[in-house]
């Protein structure tokens, strides 16, 4: 083996990464350019809103509820080590709204929406339905990508808002039922403690994560290789990319909002 072999491998990996970033950027720019130009497929948009938004409510609610409850237990136990059990409402509120709400809802959407979008579009690609769209004078970006991306970007703040509320409620329920907190004092503490930026950053994160989740599903679906294997590969790659990008974007947004 030549001494330069590891360097060559590293170089190839870097080149592949740069090429991938380039392709995703072009796809993103193309999608954005179609969002602002008609024709618009309103029916497809409404369908996507129902699919992505409404049908995600149960999984979002359950995720947030259990997380909020567990968070309250942990903070109570941890706080007890230095007699700070009373901070449970505040930390649950901050933890849920600023971080766990958007991130967990984002990851659940990556699991639920990115996977189904990628599999659906990849299947359309391998069964020539995308080609058929083009021959029927319909732009696949406008007809398939734009409605999904716009719908996810619009409904995710709502889903995150719902997740935040249910998560706080989960903490409230555990705190009042199991940890002996006073119900009205708990709520008062929560409301007093949260600031506007806590909530607005949470919802904005939701919008960004929704955009990423739907975009990755469409990107990998549209670029699927042929055959059933191609569809499986595209779906897996889409979910992984969406999850990683959501976590990376979360870090960047947290940095922007909260690093004093």
């Amino acid at each position: 083996m030549k001494l330069t072999a590891p360097l060559a491998a590293l170089g190839r990996a870097v080149l592949a990464l740069v090429a991938a970033i380039g392709r995703v950027s072009i796809f993103t720019a193309n999608t954005l350019s179609h969002i602002v130009r008609g024709p618009f497929y309103v029916r497809e948009l409404l369908g996507s809103i129902i699919q992505i938004g409404y049908f995600s409510l149960p999984v979002v609610g359950l995720t947030a509820f259990f997380t909020g409850g567990a968070l309250a237990l942990q903070i109570f136990a941890g706080g007890a080590r230095f007699n700070a059990e009373a901070v449970v409402p505040q930390i649950v509120a901050i933890g849920m709204v600023r971080e766990l709400g958007p991130v967990l809802v984002g990851l659940m959407i990556a699991a639920r929406v990115t996977s189904s979008v990628a599999a659906e579009i990849a299947t359309m690609k391998v069964t020539e339905q995308i080609d058929a769209l083009v021959t029927l004078s319909t732009n696949p970006t406008k007809y398939l990508t734009v409605p999904r991306v716009v719908a996810a970007t619009l409904v995710m703040p709502i889903l995150v808002g719902v997740g935040d509320i249910i998560g706080v409620f989960g903490g409230y329920l555990v705190s009042t039922q199991r940890l002996g907190f006073n119900a009205s004092a708990y709520l008062q503490n929560t409301v007093d403690f949260l600031e506007f930026t806590d909530i607005s950053s949470s919802l904005l994160k939701g919008a960004v994560f929704g955009f990423i989740a739907a975009l990755m599903g469409c990107y990998y679906g549209m670029n699927s290789a042929r055959g059933a294997q191609g569809v499986g590969q595209a779906t897996k790659a889409a979910v992984v990319a969406a999850a990683v990008l959501i976590l990376a974007a979360n870090f960047v947004l947290t940095e922007v909002f909260f690093s004093a």
Binding site: Y41, E128, Q129, D131, A132, V134, T135, S137
Partner: protein, 248 residues
């Protein structure tokens, strides 16, 4: 009307088309034959711009396919895809009327539905399939729906990609006859891909054989049986012996 001049197309190291020359006249029914994987689908997809050819030129009525208004260009074509390519989220009539429900050819919904039902009837399907979904139909019915969709806007040029593959011989015969009738009554220019010799004889005015990335032979269907071209002979007799390697 359609002219392909020295078309090349590669996927990585796979040099699929190596200089395809083909001419289809207006109102003519051209059938392209050739083994599977020889690039027949790629050839017609490159005419529609679904696949970008690497070099060479493709013109329709003398105009290069990469110039001019793309919507107007595509509106002249109908295509039946190999697997049907029906949209499984839409009902049968919405598939057939797809072009009539959106874009430049948009009509009121009732009118679009009436046209769809008329086209379904033309391909031998009754109105009661209109509200069913493609996944509920048999393979032969799906092909017919695909056919109805391809002709829904009375296009000037129709492409049929393996219209009878996967169908039983009787259904194949029905589809072949339908294609022939429709092409004749619409006065359309048709290009059909097939490796079914029955289809060739039912549909073709002219035949072109694609092999090794080039058109090995082309001529009127009447000369097909008389030709001594070894590739064509081997293909129409279905023999394992000959210049075409049986294992690809």
């Amino acid at each position: 009307m359609i002219t392909l001049d020295n078309i090349h197309k590669s996927f990585g190291n796979n040099h699929v088309l190596r200089g395809v020359n083909l001419h289809v006249d207006r109102g003519e029914s051209m059938v392209i034959i050739g083994g599977s994987g020889t690039g027949k689908s790629i050839t017609i997809k490159s005419v529609l711009g679904l696949v970008k050819h690497d070099s060479g030129s493709i013109t329709v009525d003398g105009q290069d396919i990469d110039t001019g208004d793309r919507d107007a260009f595509l509106a002249r074509f109908g295509m039946l895809f190999q697997g049907g390519a029906l949209f499984d989220s839409l009902s049968v009539w919405q598939n057939v009327a797809f072009r009539l429900l959106r874009g430049s050819l948009k009509r009121p919904k009732d009118e679009a539905r009436d046209i769809a039902i008329e086209k379904l009837r033309r391909v031998g399907l009754t109105a009661d399939v209109a509200d069913r979904f493609p996944s509920e139909l048999s393979g032969g019915m799906q092909k017919r729906v695909g056919l109805a969709r391809a002709i829904a806007t009375n296009p000037e040029i129709i492409f049929f990609d393996e219209p009878t593959t996967g169908l039983d011989p009787i259904m194949s015969g029905v589809i072949n006859d339908l294609i022939r009738e429709i092409v004749v009554e619409m006065g359309a220019t048709a290009v059909t891909i097939t490796h079914d010799m029955t289809s060739v004889r039912a549909i073709a005015d002219k035949v072109a054989m694609l092999h090794n990335g080039v058109i090995q032979w082309s001529g009127p269907v009447s000369e097909l049986d008389a030709t001594d071209d070894p590739f064509v002979r081997q293909f129409i007799t279905g023999s394992a012996d000959g210049p075409i390697e049986a294992i690809r």
